[in-house]
């Protein structure tokens, strides 16, 4: 039996890079196409639209489900006549004001919450009470307080945005690593400078998620509120457009209104939020 000490040392020659068959090879065209995220998503949308079209034609009842093509025709007509852009613009105006106010208030509340224990208790109690409360339930009160107009809409928007965003911000701030905090304090950063230069960037993935949720909540609340009372100073938004057309049984136009909301949602998600993500959290390696 061989002893351990009897084994010889072994030395090997390695092959040079030119002696291998394949080290690097481009993918086939089909593989490259399939790797494009947006192409895969567009394919999904086309399949869904086709299914809708086929079902609509088979049902043959435009009062229940008009085919996809009818909805698109209605959409094109009303976009061409300027009705939908006008309505969408008036909705977006109110939406942006409400969203911005809600976000700023959420930011203030969260900064208060992380700087003192009573602030934390305050925010936690408030979100526990108001986050489950549907904004629409406040609409009757808002109408009494602010009258029939943008004021009431903005009030319910702020309510629907604020609690969701501040909950996410607080979770993000709490998740900032102890090391990052100590690094900031090592540089003599304190107070608002510490929040702005360390906490907000470090918590940015959560803050961004909060903003996305807030944006979706704001849309839902706005359309629902417009459906309830609609006209503000003679110029209704998209919700009012849907309501009007439903009353006149112009169902393709109702679908055109819904499609507009979906399209704006897609544009904001894939345009604005995707861009912010690519520029920030993905570039920083905080999100894969």
């Amino acid at each position: 039996m061989p002893q351990a000490s009897e084994r010889p040392n072994i030395y090997c020659e390695t092959l040079g890079p030119d002696q291998f068959g394949i080290i690097e090879k481009p993918l086939t065209l089909a593989e490259q196409i399939y790797n494009k995220v947006w192409l895969r998503k567009v394919a999904i949308l086309i399949v869904l639209a086709l299914a809708w079209e086929i079902y609509g034609r088979w049902l043959d009842n435009p009062l229940l489900v008009p085919p996809f093509s009818a909805a698109v025709r209605a959409l094109i007509t009303d976009v061409g006549s300027g009705t939908i852009p006008r309505r969408a613009l008036s909705s977006l105006e109110v939406l942006l004001v409400g969203f911005a106010m809600g976000t700023v208030l959420a930011g203030l509340l969260t900064v208060l919450a992380i700087s003192s224990r009573i602030g934390t208790d305050f925010l936690e109690t408030m979100t526990a009470m108001f986050n489950p409360l549907p904004a629409i339930a406040l609409l009757p009160l808002a109408l009494i307080w602010f009258g029939l107009g943008a004021g009431s809409l903005i009030f319910v928007l702020v309510h629907s945005v604020m609690w969701a965003v501040s909950l996410n911000m607080l979770a993000g701030f709490r998740g900032v690593s102890a090391t990052a905090r100590m690094v900031g304090r090592n540089y003599n950063l304190g107070g608002l400078r510490f929040v702005a230069k360390i906490l907000i960037p470090a918590a940015f993935p959560s803050i961004l998620a909060g903003l996305k949720i807030g944006w979706a909540f704001a849309w839902r609340t706005l359309i629902a509120a417009e459906l309830v009372f609609g006209v503000s100073s003679g110029q209704g938004g998209l919700g009012w457009y849907i309501f009007e057309n439903k009353n006149q049984l112009d169902i393709p136009e109702v679908f055109a209104g819904l499609l507009t909301i979906i399209l704006i949602g897609l544009a904001v998600e894939n345009g604005v939020f995707r861009l912010i993500e690519a520029r920030t959290v993905q570039r920083w390696g905080m999100q894969t």
């Binding site: 690593s177 090391t179 990052a180 100590m182 690094v183 304090r185 090592n186 540089y187 003599n188 950063l189 400078r193 230069k197 360390i198 960037p201 470090a202 940015f204 920030t280 570039r283 920083w284 390696g285 905080m286």
Partner: protein
């Protein structure tokens, strides 16, 4: 406020020397700065902290002095409170007894005169590039103008051989490179003392050994003062010129000794020192073992 304690530590520094340092070193002349005091003076520091269920004494009446240009290494097994001690020097924790002074000023809060290099890789801010990470403290503390900060940052990034990666984000770097950025960031501030909390502990053995060599060659260039915490005896012998041994639960000074001369970390002398340190740190267990078997 700061005048009182500073004066007190100056007048009593001669007598404290006798109490705190091991008997072998008694009477040794300690070189000091122009003002006649050590750069960093830790006097009788007891650290305590609370967990959910316990009040833990991390260190008990620890005293030592770090002089200008020292590579001062604190070594001890886990649970000897060495990291807690370093965080106290950093100003993150306050001792319940004793005091820590830097250049005669009592340490009360964190500050850029004591730059910290942490063990964790997430100490680099992920939203800033390598270069921005080094520039950031130089700018926020108002130390340098924009242009000067850029030059200083590039100079230190070149020292740690990372100038080519200055526009990369931290997540694109390996662990060793991240630690080199953290060291460059600390050194670029040119602090009074650089505090290092097991900065190489999370690295693989080969990278770790290379980083130790690089740290020593950086020291040869700039002769900065560093307080280094580790649990590795070979690392302490290789990096330090002066080694403080702490015993665990709670951390108390076992000894404060000189390391072997530079470049001798593989010699028999170093091996003997390593055994000596090992025996001192684990003396209690060795003493206990025969008693237990005898009964």
């Amino acid at each position: 406020m700061t005048g009182g304690p500073a004066l007190a530590s100056r007048t009593t520094s001669g007598t404290k020397e006798m109490k705190s340092v091991s008997p072998a070193l008694r009477g040794r002349a300690v070189p000091t700065d122009e003002a006649g005091r050590p750069l960093l003076d830790v006097r009788g520091v007891t650290m305590r902290y609370k967990t959910q269920a316990h009040l833990i004494t991390a260190t008990y009446r620890v005293s030592f002095s770090v002089l200008q240009g020292d590579r001062f290494v604190v070594v001890g097994p886990s649970g000897c409170g060495k990291s807690t001690l370093l965080k106290a020097v950093g100003g993150y924790l306050t001792p319940i007894e004793g005091e820590i002074t830097l250049k005669g000023e009592r340490i009360t809060k964190p500050g850029p005169d004591r730059m910290m290099v942490f063990q964790e890789f997430d100490q680099l801010l992920p939203w800033k590039t390598v270069l921005e990470n080094v520039i950031f403290p130089l700018r926020t503390t108002g130390t340098l103008s924009r242009l000067e900060a850029y030059d200083r940052a590039m100079q230190y990034l070149e020292k740690v051989k990372l100038a080519d990666f200055s526009h990369n984000y931290p997540h694109m770097l390996s662990g060793g490179m991240k630690q080199r950025v953290a060291i460059a960031r600390g050194m670029a501030m040119e602090p009074d003392i650089l505090l290092m909390d097991e900065p190489f502990a999370a690295l693989d053995a080969l990278t770790r050994s290379r980083m130790q060599d690089e740290l020593l060659s950086l020291w040869d260039e700039t002769r900065f003062t560093v307080l280094f915490v580790t649990h590795s005896i070979p690392e302490a012998i290789k990096l330090g010129n002066r080694i403080l041994l702490l015993s665990p639960h709670p951390g108390q000074v076992k000894a404060e000794i000189n390391s072997v001369p530079r470049g001798q970390e593989n010699s028999n002398q170093a091996a003997a020192l390593g055994r000596e340190i090992h025996d001192m740190l684990f003396a209690d267990q060795i003493k206990k073992a025969p008693n237990a078997s005898g009964q």
